[in-house]
Amino acid sequence: MSTAASHAEPARPHGDSHHAGEPGHDEEHHGPAWLAHHFDTPAQQFDAAKLGMWAFLAQELLFFSGVFVAYGIFRSWYPEAFSGASHQLDRVMGASNTIVLLFSSWTAAMSVRSSQLGKKAQTSGYLIVTIACAFIFLVVKYFEYQHKFHAGLLPGKFFGHPVDGGLFGAIPAGHGHVPHLPAKAHIFFSLYFVMTGIHAIHVIVGIGVMFWILKRNASGEFSKEFFTPVDLVALYWHLVDLIWIYLFPLLYLID
Amino acid sequence: MVSPDNFQLPEQLSTGAAEVDDLYMFVYWFSVIFTAVIVAVMLYCIVKFRRRPGVKAEPVGHNLVLELVWTFGPVIFIAILFHLGFKVYVHNAVAAENAMEIRVRGRQWLWEFEYPNGTRENNELTIPLNQPVKFILSSDDVIHSFYVPGARWKRDAVPGMYTNISFTPTKLGNMQVFCAEYCGTSHSGMLAMIHVVTPEDFQKHLDSADKAPEGKKPEEWGAELYKKNACNTCHSIDGSKMPGPTWKGLWGKTESLADGSTVVVDENYVKESILKPQAKIAAGFTTAQMPPFTLKDAQIDAIIAYMKTLK
């Protein structure tokens, strides 16, 4: 290894400015401006970024796996509580959010495709639609949360809904006739808020990143040759979508 | 291989202990020999192959057989170890049919024992020799771990579930109990003692649980109970500030309560405070939560007698 390279050169005295005659110092030989100095080829940079993103998504999955495991365990411990509590969720809202997110995943994929084809305006358009879908998702989520707050369907010790053989006796005022939920229903809502809450944070982060990509796209940073950031944000968005695909049936649908 | 007074292990006080110790010494001698061989080879190489001018290291060849042998050879050994360990574990874990059941409740920071007849004692338990005992563990606050080194056995007392261990004491005398799972400030003070006695003495002990020890005045017995029930971890007798009100000058005093009312400290109040501590909480002591204590009337009377002496 290295015989050609290494110890040929002791550190030069500081301030010595001489690049002339040394190979490789001139910029055009290295490649386009978006190619970082430590990469040799665009393909290498793209592959590294993509691999890094996949590794990051793997850790995202394991992050969520914790709450999924908790869900599975408590569902098997307290099946009536989970069944009863899940009926308190609005399936129509959940289903519409699922459709919104699925559609946004498609637009995210289309923004990558447009970017690959070098269609700047189209890329921006698809990104804007994706962001809009993300906002719609959050608005629907807001109304869902609002309903839960009013009904006292809150996590853990803030749970204010009447339950059978209640751990929490207090019934909030103005709730004359509400059906009692099975005991331990508060754990379902703990998990509901934790799972959907962490997911919503991911949606919000996604919106922020997509705005940033939108801005970079508008300033013409991307091209047929260089569309890595668009690709990566779309990958991330697909993961956010994927998680929801699991959350929706687990929380809303199955009895 | 195992001497009864092994330097590395505590005294064997139960049926399963010897088996565990044999296994321990087996792994120990294996480890000693293994380490000695590794160190000997290392020292040999350091001396024999120290760097000398003109002598080069021999390039590394391939010896697949050797690699495979020392990669997969140890599998046989560890399979044997696993088998032995599991066998002894299961053997010790199964309670005998006729085991006496003792309920053990871990609390910050004492052990409460309940005999089959309902008698309760704190931090001290008396059991008959050669009688299999099954300890049913639980906890009301945090996780504790019931550890009896003389029996080579421990198990966590987890809030919300029951666990158990069992062993048969084989020696008259005392068995130390530790709490082995960290449980807060006085974790290291959560010690109990199991007294192993003859069956006759055990019966005597059960019969006398609510009687003052012979030749002791009630207030002397009360002073003993004050320590034995760990009252001293929260209530001082010299007026110094602790998590609970001091007992000095408490008797007969008009105590103001957290809810604003007042109460005179008399027999009824003391009894209620021991059996249902949360019923009337003295002002300024709302943060510390005293657990309920189950004491016999005679014991409460003795404590009251003791309290009266603390003027």
Binding site: S2, A5, S6, H7, A8, E9, P10, A11, R12, H25, H29, H30, D40, T41, A48, G52, F56, Q59, L62, F63, S65, G66, I73, F74, P155, K157, S190 | Q8, Y24, S31, V41, M42, F49, R52, K56, A57, P59, E67, P74, F82, G85, F86, A93, D141, I143, Y147, P149, R152, W153, K154, V158, G160, M161, F178, E181, Y182, G184, T185, H187, S188
Partner: protein, 550 residues
């Protein structure tokens, strides 16, 4: 890769000279704060983890001093409980986990690959600041009453205590992301930034170790993150997941916690082993025997690490079947560990051995890790574990692995790469004295703990019965010798910085790639991108000039 097109990074008029020594290429504090150079980030990590080691070490000495005599020696029970917790938290999250990968690895890994930097330099800098940010939370907790739960934060005690649990847990949560991002960065770097000719079978074993570590960091740490998040929420909102009063399960917390924290043990030890490979090869002038077996044993440890968490719960009321399965799986860990020890010893045989200070640490690693591993066998055997669990035997066991293993590896690596990082030599005589003190002090401290542990002394005890006093006394005296050793070492390193001789390119005469570039390395790591034609340990293929210590 065409030599002419890619050898040196773009240099523009205002850019620093890539061929200049990385310490001098740019000047001023801002050039450090905003640096994207993996070497400078490595140095910043190094300073941070050494500081954490100092703080954690002071806590350790305080704990030992308190236990010197029965009853109160220097502090009360609450202060003691906070001190041993802080010792654990600081050592685990602030020191050991980032020590080898983030500090030494950051500096050495790209150079050993023949790369100019890690794959994502900005992410690398961000990881460092996330680490600092998390450390600030830990510090905030420390000055606001600290934590008295033990570093494991077991519920429900961590729900009930009034100490500053939330900032400390958030600190660990945040530092976890630093660890994850470093892992992501290293994985991409190893896969995509190897120099021409640097094939997987020519990778230094240090890289293999860090690669295995990175996989664990990426896959295990997020589980800790969600666990700690749930713990915080449980305290805030009373979720009812871990708190039995609300219908939760405290044992579930232990499962979650150890699903990360057991693999985390391999995040700590595998990099230590990785360093030892490099040192043994260099000071034996010989390739590590069974290269592929040693490389794969790192990956095997990474994989097995995910399957054995249950052995921390043998006495927690888990079912007997689960106990059996976890015991069996735990024994499998002995296989890759044994493979490493056998191959290291075989490497010494017919080598050309020189006992310089890094080698002394590497050899003590083998000895101490062997003891640490074998005492792990005791704990894997179910019947013995129920006796030894939560006693000082366990404390001594993991200190033999974590200090005897990881810290020896880290310190050995620090000695080994010190000339490359700082450009200065250190006083070898003083280094050997420091080593002797560390080695003796360590063994005195922890052998005493093995014996009191097997005799029944539970861990995390503020006070103890009279029969254990002699062991505690010996252990505390050992801790003073150990402390003196580290102090000597610190003085030696500071002296080297101030008035150490200038190091040559290759003071140890190593054939490995990082020793072939100038000392300290230029900003771009190499004057010219190397083409790898032989393995890092192929002493018989290396030229005289490459091995020259001049």
């Amino acid at each position: 890769m065409g030599a002419a097109t890619t050898t040196v990074p773009r240099a523009q008029a205002h850019h620093p000279d890539p061929n200049e020594n990385y310490l001098k290429a740019e000047r001023g504090i801002m050039s450090w704060i905003y640096t994207l150079d993996h070497k400078r980030i490595g140095v910043m990590y190094l300073v941070s983890v050494l500081l954490a080691f100092l703080i954690g070490g002071i806590f350790a000495l305080a704990v030992r001093l308190e236990l010197f005599s029965r009853g109160k020696t220097i502090m009360d029970a609450d202060a003691y409980n906070r001190t041993f917790t802080l010792h654990g938290v600081v050592m685990v999250f602030l020191f050991i986990i980032p020590s080898v990968p983030a500090a030494l690895g950051n500096f050495i890994l790209p150079i050993q690959l023949g790369a100019k930097d890690v794959a994502f330099p900005r992410l690398n800098l961000m990881s460092y600041y996330i680490y600092v940010f998390g450390a600030c939370f830990a510090l905030y907790s420390m000055v606001n009453g600290a934590v008295d739960t033990g570093w494991t934060f077991y519920t429900p005690y961590s729900m009930r205590t009034t100490s500053a649990v939330i900032p400390m847990v958030l600190g660990a949560f945040i530092m976890g992301f630093s660890s994850i991002l470093t892992g992501v960065n290293f994985i991409a770097t190893v896969h995509k930034l190897r120099a021409p000719g640097q094939t997987w079978t020519k990778l230094p074993l240090f890289i293999w170790g860090l690669y295995a570590t990175s996989i664990i960091q990426v896959l295990a740490t997020p589980v800790l993150a969600i666990t700690l998040l749930l713990l915080c929420l449980e305290r805030f909102l009373g979720l009812g997941i871990f708190d039995p009063k609300l219908g939760g399960d405290p044992v579930l917390f232990q499962h979650f916690f150890w699903f990360y924290s057991h693999p985390a043990v391999y995040i700590m030890i595998v990099p230590g082993m990785a360093v030892v490979n490099e040192i043994i090869a260099t000071f034996s002038r010989r390739a590590i025997v069974g290269y592929m077996f040693v490389a794969m044993s790192s990956l095997a440890l990474a994989l097995l690490g995910f399957l054995v968490w249950g052995h921390h719960l043998f006495v927690s009321g888990m079912s007997e079947y689960a106990t059996m399965v976890f015991s069996a799986l735990t024994f499998l860990v002995a296989i890759p560990s044994g493979v490493k020890v056998f191959n290291w010893v075989a490497t010494l045989y017919k080598g050309s051995i020189r006992l310089e200070s890094p080698m002394l640490y590497a050899l003590s690693f083998i000895f101490l890790f062997t003891i640490g591993g074998l005492t792990g066998l005791f704990l894997g055997v179910l019947a013995i574990d129920v006796h030894l669990h939560d006693t000082y035997f366990v404390v001594a066991h993991f200190h033999y692995v974590m200090v005897g293993g990881t810290v020896m590896g880290f310190v050995g690596g620090l000695h080994y790469w010190w000339p490359k990082i700082t450009g200065k030599l250190f006083n070898e005589g003083v280094a050997k004295v420091a080593w002797a003190l560390v080695f003796i002090g360590f063994n005195v401290t922890f052998i005493a703990q093995f014996i009191m542990g097997s005799r029944g002394m539970p861990r995390r005890y503020y006070d103890y019965l009279p029969e254990y006093e002699i062991f505690h006394k010996v252990s505390t005296i050992g801790s003073w010798i150990l402390g003196l050793g580290f102090l000597t070492m610190a003085v030696m390193f500071v002296a080297s910085l101030i008035k150490g001789q200038k190091s040559t390119r290759n003071p140890w005469g190593s054939a490995a790639l990082e020793w072939q570039t100038p000392t300290p390395p230029p900003l771009a790591n190499f004057i010219k991108v190397p083409t790898i034609t032989r393995g890092p340990y192929d002493y018989h293929l290396a030229t005289e000039e490459e091995l020259s210590e001049k």
